[in-house]
């Protein structure tokens, strides 16, 4: 209940927006997620409690941008700082959603929320003030790459919300970067709606510093003939959850997901995915990789839901995991729920250690054990990282961060 009180203290009832009021009402009936539910049972309770322990903070402090200045061809937006945008070109337009459009969309989303599945979103929308909600509608082609940053300041719990409509026939490349300072918690909720024939190449790179926490929720609705590609990387968080919910609302859509989480020390990072096929001929190719070292804990739980209407669905979900220490822990559970009878669905999970024979081979070529392990790990990352839309100049930084890690 503490978190509710905290939100109320932060925002008196008169200052709350309609959305905040609705979400707070819902949260009040379940101030914490049911920790026995599948989605939350492996969550480290004390870390979750610590994550919610910081003061709620709506203002945004300045932070050091980790990536070099964006080139002219990239559109950079920082949620909470420069959310005013209206770009109209002969090929495309990027405009902010009107307040009434935002309200209508969020209300509609909330009506579908399930208390356990969407607890992170309820918390986010209870906390997120107007300035920290960025809503965009994008249409057209030849759209420059977009970068969107969310940031949590030290000793505070910040909430940022992103809502994007990709209108019919548009192709978008979007990199979302979530940054946490020392002792901070970031609640990030993202909502995408991909209209017919649109495609979105989406990268999510989230990393923190000492004792950073993250509740990252991603909701995607795909209309027919749309394509959604997600490459994600989460690392350096004391506690982080990445929740992905994708609905192919009419089937006939394509989804590709390549995600990775890296845990060290006593960190816990988890990924939960739920892919709903609500129509025929849907396609999914998903791979999630975890790498756990020291005493850390990595979790993956994925579910693919194929109801009777989703005939001819072609879905694959693979969880690959690497344990680097005897004390590290990995939990993985890819699941299929299939009612339709004419589908091609597969899932699998592997947990292994660094390949001794590969290491020996490299060492017989003069490469030290340390270098050989590094090469092997970078090859393990490669498949995922190459799927994240990041330009070369930002690559170097990502490389450096991964090596530090």
């Amino acid at each position: 209940m503490e978190i509710i009180e905290k939100i109320k203290t932060y925002k008196s009832i008169d200052n709350q927006t309609e959305i905040q009021k609705i979400c707070l009402d819902k949260l009040q009936s379940s101030p914490l997620p049911n920790l026995r539910s599948e989605q939350w049972r492996l969550s480290n309770k004390s870390k979750l409690s610590n994550c919610l322990d910081y003061s709620v903070y709506g203002n945004n402090s300045k932070f050091d941008m980790p990536f070099p200045e964006n080139s002219q061809s990239t559109i950079r937006l920082i949620i909470g700082e420069n959310c005013q945008i209206k770009l109209i070109d002969k090929n495309y337009s990027i405009q902010q959603l009107r307040e009434d459009e935002l309200l209508k969309y969020i209300k509609e989303q909330i009506s579908f929320f399930n208390q356990n599945d969407n607890w992170s979103d309820l918390l986010n929308l209870s906390l997120s003030c107007k300035n920290n909600i960025l809503g965009l509608k994008i249409n057209g082609s030849k759209i420059p790459p977009i970068e969107i940053f969310s940031h949590a300041s030290s000793n505070s719990l910040n909430a940022k919300t992103l809502i994007i409509f990709c209108e019919k026939n548009c192709n978008v490349e979007l990199l979302q970067v979530n940054l946490g300072e020392d002792n901070s918690s970031l609640s990030q909720s993202t909502f995408f709606c991909l209209e017919e024939n649109s495609s979105l190449n989406h990268g999510v790179v989230s990393y923190g510093l000492n004792k950073s926490n993250l509740l990252n929720s991603l909701n995607v609705i795909q209309q027919k003939n749309s394509e959604y590609n997600l490459g994600s990387l989460h690392f350096k968080f004391n506690y982080a959850r990445f929740e992905i919910r994708i609905k192919q609302s009419e089937g006939n859509a394509r989804t590709n997901i390549k995600g990775m989480q890296i845990t060290k020390k006593d960190e816990q990072i988890s990924t939960y995915t739920k892919i709903d096929f609500d129509g025929p001929n849907g396609f999914l190719d998903q791979i999630n990789k975890s790498l756990a070292d020291d005493k850390s804990h990595a979790i993956f739980e994925g579910s693919i839901i194929v109801p009777k209407i989703a005939q001819k669905t072609d879905a694959s979900q693979l969880s690959r995991n690497l344990l680097l220490s005897n004390l590290a822990q990995i939990d993985t559970k890819p699941q299929l729920e299939i009612i339709a009878d004419d589908v091609k669905c597969k899932h699998g999970a592997t947990i292994s250690q660094l390949n001794e024979e590969e290491l020996f081979y490299m060492r017989t070529r003069g490469i030290t054990l340390k270098e050989a392990s590094k090469l092997q790990l970078s090859s393990y990352f490669q498949e995922i990282i190459s799927f994240i839309p990041v330009s070369k100049d930002r690559w170097d930084l990502l490389d450096k961060l991964l090596n530090e890690n």
């Binding site: 060492r363 070529r365 003069g366 030290t368 050989a372 090469l375 092997q376 090859s379 490669q382």
Partner: protein, 261 residues
């Protein structure tokens, strides 16, 4: 049985070597000396310990030396790490070269070549200089440059993998190369390319140990000595005609030899 001693010092000198893995003895007192310019062939049935011997010389961490010494250029290397052995000039050509997805072949070759060059106090090569060197060496094994941009051994055919091993040997310029069944899985043309590559790389200062089952490699590269291994021991050593005799009589003949001795 030991190869004939010469006045010069051996490159590699193995004395009464016994080794085990998971407490299971594999090598049971192997002795072998390789002098500069010599080519030795080791033959024997599957499971007789040939590949284990090669891995132990290269420093595989899964095997324990329980007795005996391996000396390389006069120094005992029993406790050296595999990378230290490689840097100092020991090369193991793998029977089944390992695929390393995601690691570019070019970068892998450059890092390993520079590790050896550093040991030899030679200047390390940047990407551009290395590309020049590697192009020159590719010609030895008749490999296409396209192999360089692929991941190490990934998607290579059996023959391409073996040629990639010889390319590595050419780049590392080892003092001694142990080639474990380099001829297996090669068609006649590929065998000739690989054999001619080995001959071009070896010289009067280097030594070669060929581990093989077949005479056809030895037709291309004539060994000075042939050793027959059985049950973790070298049971017979002779000159190149021993391989021909073995081809004719089969390993049953060596069984008789064990019984007699």
């Amino acid at each position: 049985m030991q190869s004939k001693m010469k006045e010069s010092d051996p490159i590699l000198e193995i004395k009464n070597l016994s080794a085990s893995t998971d407490n299971l003895p594999i090598l049971k007192g192997v002795s072998l000396s390789v002098y500069p310019g010599e080519i030795h062939a080791i033959m024997g049935r599957n499971g007789c310990g040939k590949s284990t011997l090669s891995k132990i010389i290269a420093g595989h961490p899964s095997y324990n030396i329980t007795n005996g010494d391996i000396k390389f250029l006069g120094e005992n290397i029993n406790s050296l790490e595999p990378e230290e052995r490689s840097q100092s000039g020991i090369f193991l050509g793998f029977q089944y070269p390992i695929e390393i997805p995601g690691v570019s072949n070019l970068e892998f070759l450059r890092v390993s070549t520079n590790a050896r060059r550093k040991f030899l106090n030679k200047e390390e090569l940047d990407t551009f200089d290395f590309e020049e060197l590697v192009k020159e060496k590719l010609e030895i094994v008749k490999m296409d440059q396209a192999f360089l941009s692929r991941s190490v051994n990934q998607g290579f055919s059996g023959g391409e993998k073996k040629r990639n091993e010889i390319l590595q040997m050419a780049l590392l310029e080892p003092k001694i190369a142990i080639l474990d069944e380099t001829d297996s899985g090669l068609d006649i043309d590929a065998l000739r390319i690989v054999a001619s590559g080995i001959k071009r790389i070896s010289n009067a200062q280097t030594g070669i140990i060929l581990i093989t089952h077949y005479q056809r490699l030895l037709d291309e590269i004539k060994p000075n000595y042939v050793h027959v291994m059985s049950d973790g021991q070298i049971i017979k050593t002779g000159e190149s005609d021993l391989a021909l005799e073995l081809e004719k009589k089969g390993y049953e003949w060596t069984d008789n030899f064990i019984k007699e001795t």
